[in-house]
């Protein structure tokens, strides 16, 4: 188990290196330049080329891309330094420390919310397979998964902030503020988790040992919750892990709608300013979190199903 964990963590290194490379080079393909954006179009209708050169030099943007890449990675690996934002002049690490908490609350909260409701919906659907409740809940989960989060966020805001006046719609200053954005993200996750739970449960309940348990008079509730659910859990866990990644990145939209100063908005603002160090670092943090969570999910398989062997 320990060996497997170490092996998985070591696998992170090439994954993240590849990710960092893709990010680093692809963002430089987008038209636009942080320096000319920053200093605007000066009196001469374009910033003085000598000045642009000087600033590009200062930020090391004149070096060959490969040199820039190795310098960037070197600073991260050897000094833990993610660089400084070209726009705000602040160290990116400080910004990330401030903002990460919001995004992780949203993504984890959304995943938890989605998992609880999704699993409940999935089990009920499986229990009432092909009955009205099943059809209704599957229709509900289909709507939840296909509704764009900016739209859903707006509807929730309209109902709970504007019409009922129960919850705030701007910012993230406490638990009350987290409810609507977490629900927005969570409802999006409900669809997939519910459908996966349902089909996984249906696979299991058709197995012989379930039929045997039934014939021996074990109650239906006990069969579904104790026997079937545990065996159906692996695909559900996989679905949850993958959904977490989608929610993590999807948080940028929810953060924009609910005006939350999270990592996603930082990334979007970084893109609009072409602030390369910010874009690189936020994407890298997203990628690292995603890979770590999926590694964690893989490790959880062993706890859920003792037959899973790690070697």
């Amino acid at each position: 188990m320990l060996r497997y964990t170490i092996k998985r963590l070591l696998q992170l290194i090439p994954t993240l290196l590849a990710v960092s490379m893709i990010i680093f080079f692809s963002i430089r393909l987008i038209p636009g330049d942080p320096i000319s954006l920053m200093y605007g179009l000066s009196e001469a209708g374009g910033v003085d080329p000598a000045f642009i050169e000087q600033m590009r030099e200062q930020y090391g943007l004149n070096d060959p891309l490969i040199t820039q890449y190795f310098r960037y990675m070197g600073n991260i690996i050897f000094h833990g330094d993610l660089g400084t934002s070209i726009v705000t002049k602040k160290p990116i690490m400080d910004e990330l420390m401030n903002r990460y908490q919001y995004t992780i609350v949203l993504a984890l909260g959304g995943t938890l919310f989605g998992s609880i409701i999704g699993i409940a919906v999935g089990i009920i659907s499986a229990v009432f397979h092909n009955k009205a409740a099943d059809n209704f809940l599957m229709a509900f989960s289909m709507i939840a998964v296909s509704m764009p989060s900016f739209f859903l966020g707006m509807i929730l805001m309209l109902v709970f902030s504007l019409n009922l006046g129960l919850l705030p719609s701007v910012g993230m200053k406490g638990v009350k503020y987290a409810i609507l954005p977490v629900a927005t993200l969570g409802l999006y996750a409900v669809g997939l988790i519910a459908r996966t739970t349902r089909s996984s449960m249906l696979d299991v309940v058709n197995q012989d040992y379930i039929r045997t348990a039934r014939s021996r008079g074990v109650s239906k509730t006990k069969i579904y919750l104790s026997h079937a659910f545990r065996n159906a859990l692996i695909p559900i866990l996989t679905a949850i892990g993958l959904r977490f990644g989608i929610l993590l990145v999807g948080s940028s939209i929810v953060e924009t709608v609910f005006t939350i100063p999270g990592l996603g908005r930082f990334m979007i603002d970084g893109i609009s300013h072409r602030d390369y160090p910010v874009i690189q670092s936020t994407m890298l943090v997203f990628a690292t979190t995603f890979v770590l969570v999926n590694t964690l999910v893989d490790l959880l398989y062993g706890f859920v199903d003792p037959r899973v062997k790690y070697d």
């Binding site: 605007g40 409740a133 719609s169 701007v170 609910f258 005006t259």
Partner: protein
């Protein structure tokens, strides 16, 4: 089972109904677009909130008037200038108590207030004015609007509270241009200490204005605190916050829920809706700005003035305005500068005349039409639908236009990369805004449309060049008789607008602020600069 289903359906329906009934909306409500008057200063009786929050869509690029190329909205929280526009848009003293001009009209002497302190406690003196103008007028100045002040040849300190400015020729635009945001006075020590980083963080801002900037989370919020020693007296509200809410619907909703007190830059549909919401007032104000689609005069076809005129007459501006801008009370531009700018003359809406277009195309040898693309970026209100309507109008006379959309950074890059004549800039037209912060046609026309000595037309981005315009505009710059200046500008506008068009000017813009009706003392001038010394909100 049935019970469960019914309950679920009822819940869903309830959600739908709740979502549908928006806080007392009355669809039949009246809509008014009249210009709002500036509110009187708050009376001070009763209870007021200690924090007023204004929600807007995007952040300032710099909190330094010289480097700021965003807008006039926020800077005057922190900074003051020698002279300013009051709530009636008249020019009055700000840091300068009084001023006089020499008999030859070449030397301006400004007598400064002696009771002004910077936010860090430092006494304001003429040295700060001198340092600010030295930076603005330096040869290698990065200030986009430096050309509006280049007529000043010397700035000299007479004593701590007296400063003179010398010009080469008489300058009728001196006072108007001194109101431009590039003239906001900076602290000489901060210029030295921060250089180009001045105004990028809260710590690097030190002004003499009514508020201190105490926190700036870029693209999130700015937090201001009333400055106790402000020379005109501490403002009525202790804290002022600018909250960046990028999504327009979220911004409108935050206003409705009372989480913010004032919102601007809302989408047309939200502005219309909010007009009928109880407790919210929607105020329209006159504005210095126009929108338009500018010609690339170095373009293969559009370098021919006849083809530019053909395009101009093929576009039905009134139809565009009726469809897209009339709902928020905006109307057709009638000159290449806004109606509130000094020097404006009403030249009427450019006639929609497809037959004339065809005739002009035939004269130019392109009776069968020609092709070009239009560069659009969506930050301009209704820019994409406007471009789409233009494309349809052009197709009707045989001109094939396509639309290319880029974001702000992409747009900026394309502007920055271009080199004369038109290399790296293949687009035939591009969207542009026109609004002189000085409210004077000198900036509105001369800064944009004169040919620079190197032939690479400085600020008009579209390589527009016209000999008569180049002769007339410098004459207006030194003409001290306002009536004669207006005559010169009229002629220039006839050329730029009709005879040798530089752009298709579409809509006369309005300033629109939606706010809680508890807000008092909200005053904004025609540049969209808010007066922060009177702003308050009842509890």
């Amino acid at each position: 089972m049935k019970k469960f289903l019914s309950l679920a359906l009822v819940l869903l329906l309830a959600l739908g109904v709740l979502a549908g009934c928006g806080g007392g909306n009355d669809a039949s409500g009246s809509q008014s677009f009249g210009d709002a008057s500036n509110m009187p200063a708050p009376t001070g009786d009763g209870e007021y909130k200690d924090t007023v929050i204004l929600a807007t869509g995007s952040d300032q690029n710099y909190m330094d008037g010289q480097m700021n190329n965003t807008n006039d909205k926020v800077l005057r929280t922190v900074y003051s200038s020698l002279v300013k526009r009051d709530q009636n848009n008249e020019i009055v003293g700000d840091l300068a108590e009084s001023w006089e001009i020499s008999d030859d009209n070449l030397t301006w002497t400004f007598y400064l207030r002696q009771d002004v302190k910077f936010h860090n406690g430092k006494q304001f003196t003429s040295a700060d004015v001198k340092a600010s103008y030295d930076r603005l007028l330096a040869e290698d100045s990065l200030v986009r609007y430096a050309s509006t002040m280049r007529f000043i040849t010397d700035v000299s300190v007479v004593d701590d509270y007296t400063i003179t400015m010398t010009t080469e020729n008489p300058s009728p635009v001196m006072l108007a241009n001194l109101c431009h945001r590039a003239n906001l006075i900076l602290d000489a020590d901060y210029i030295e200490e921060y250089g180009l980083d001045l105004g990028l963080t809260a710590e690097s801002c030190n002004g003499t204005g009514p508020y201190r900037l105490v926190q700036w989370d870029k693209d999130e919020m700015m937090v201001f605190e009333a400055f106790d020693d402000y020379f005109e007296g501490k403002p009525p509200t202790q804290n002022f916050i600018i909250q960046i809410i990028p999504d327009t619907s979220s911004r409108a909703m935050a206003l409705e829920t009372g989480e913010v007190d004032i919102a601007d830059g809302l989408a047309v549909e939200d502005v219309l809706r909010l007009q009928d919401v109880e407790g919210i007032s929607v105020n329209f104000y006159k504005y210095q700005g126009l929108h338009g689609f500018q010609f690339n005069c170095a373009h293969e076809y559009l370098s021919d003035s006849r083809l530019r005129r053909a395009v101009s007459h093929a576009i039905n501006r009134q139809a565009i305005i009726d469809a897209l801008y009339a709902p928020i009370g905006e109307y057709c531009a009638t000159a290449p500068v806004s109606e509130v700018v000094f020097g404006y003359t009403d030249l009427g809406v450019v006639p929609y005349d497809p037959e004339l277009s065809k005739q002009l195309m035939e004269e130019a040898g392109y009776a069968d039409g020609f092709e070009f693309s239009i560069l659009v970026y969506p930050n301009y209100n209704q820019s994409l639908p406007s471009a789409e309507m233009i494309v349809q109008d052009l197709a009707a006379v045989g001109i094939t236009a396509t639309i290319e959309i880029v974001d702000n950074a992409g747009f900026n890059a394309m502007q920055g990369n271009r080199t004369y004549p038109g290399e790296n800039f293949p687009w035939g037209m591009f969207i542009m805004g026109y609004g002189p912060s000085s409210l004077d046609a000198d900036e509105g026309l001369r800064r944009l449309w004169t040919t620079s000595p190197d032939g690479n037309n400085n600020n008009n981005y579209g390589w527009y060049s016209n000999e008569e315009v180049d002769t007339l505009l410098p004459q207006a710059q030194v003409e001290m008789d306002p009536a004669k200046r207006i005559e010169i500008y009229k002629r220039v506008m006839e050329i730029v607008y009709l005879e040798d068009p530089a752009a298709v000017f579409t809509n006369q813009r309005r300033i629109i602020y939606c706010m809680s009706d508890k807000v008092e003392g909200f005053q904004v001038d025609m540049r969209n600069a808010i007066n922060y010394t009177t702003l308050a909100c009842r509890a």
